[in-house]
Symmetry: C2
């Protein structure tokens, strides 16, 4: 007889359920372990965050935190600067080990000056190249670079050449909508961030800490 105030025994089918769970998970673990064993290259990776949904730049900033936590040096170059009060810039500029460069001029529909946009985009690329050749920089974020290709501010071929020749251990993250197919082909990890819905559509303003 079970004494009072003791846990009740599980129902009759519970041991079976637990055992089935254990067996299923053991099989899953074996499959995953074999994949992990097969993935044995250690090198810098090129990541692309593209698509129309929210999260492309924030996922890059999350990797900045992750890289700093492992003691890597980080450089961030931003192509499109729509405002000067972003939380990420305020926060990361005060962290040691981070170089932060904003070279863009704002959205092209705000400047309305193609020539000026192009010059700003080329200055941003000129600022990025030294990081992409410096093995002490473990992670380079090229934020919203894809717009430079979309609007014809930069040619893709020389950018691909610099990326291909970068230090072997260096990770690079490129963000922005409409990543060109040649850039996707050159990348190791590509995420398409699809918009299911956005608070803006429901009339919510851009909130600090979320949108900027």
């Amino acid at each position: 007889m079970t004494p009072p105030n003791q846990p009740q025994p599980p129902s009759a089918d519970a041991p079976d359920r637990e055992a089935r769970h254990q067996q299923r998970m053991a099989r899953k673990q074996a499959v995953i372990q074999s994949h992990i064993t097969a993935a044995d290259q250690r090198r810098g990776v090129l990541l692309i965050h593209t698509g129309n949904g929210k999260g492309k730049s924030s996922a890059a900033f999350g990797l900045v935190a992750r890289a700093l936590g492992h003691g890597l040096g980080v450089a961030v170059v931003q192509w499109v600067k729509s405002r000067s009060d972003t939380g990420e810039e305020a926060f990361f500029r005060r962290q040691p080990g981070v170089a932060w460069q904003v070279m863009g001029e704002g959205f092209t529909w705000d400047t309305q000056d193609r020539q000026r946009d192009q010059e700003a985009a080329r200055r941003a690329w000129a600022a990025a190249v030294p990081y992409l050749t410096d093995p002490k920089v473990g992670l380079v974020v090229l934020d919203e670079l894809t717009y430079a290709f979309k609007y014809g501010w930069l040619d893709l071929a020389p950018v691909l050449a610099v990326l291909a020749a970068r230090p072997a251990g260096q990770h690079v993250v490129i963000t922005g909508r409409g990543a060109p197919p040649e850039l996707v082909a050159a990348a190791d990890t590509v995420t398409d961030m699809g918009m299911v819905k956005h608070a803006f559509q429901a009339g919510v303003a851009a909130m600090p800490g979320v949108e900027f």
Copy 2:
């Protein structure tokens, strides 16, 4: 006659091209401005990062940086803990204004113990509730919470009730694959992070600073 060493005049169609660009961007700016004016609610938003691609948790950690940059208090609760050496934990634990709780027990295929997983998931939820009722916490990250629903560790209804009753200005980010439809319905902003490709498939090991 153009003197030597002066910039050459643009080709005949260039002024047209610049003018067309300016007009197109002015129209675009007007449309965007009208949308911005219409989005005038200021409140906390509920974000979901789901899908099979990389970036769900890193985008949440990017928002942590963004929120800290705006002086918000932040709390992070993690459901699935596969390793103890993550860069994000090392980095954010040393930042003022961040509470970081890891309550999960690792992937369920590693523990292979459904009962233990469920207890850990419920402890994690019990730890999250005080943050979700505290107006001094501006951003709460519930990292990989969706697995608690997938594996039946937590019921969705009480979670939805706590989210609905949270302080009006508080932002919440929930990450993980397979977000349940009721959770998506309750959210303001939902991104489905689709995997186009992943370095792991090409044999690259999980690199510190990128994957953890």
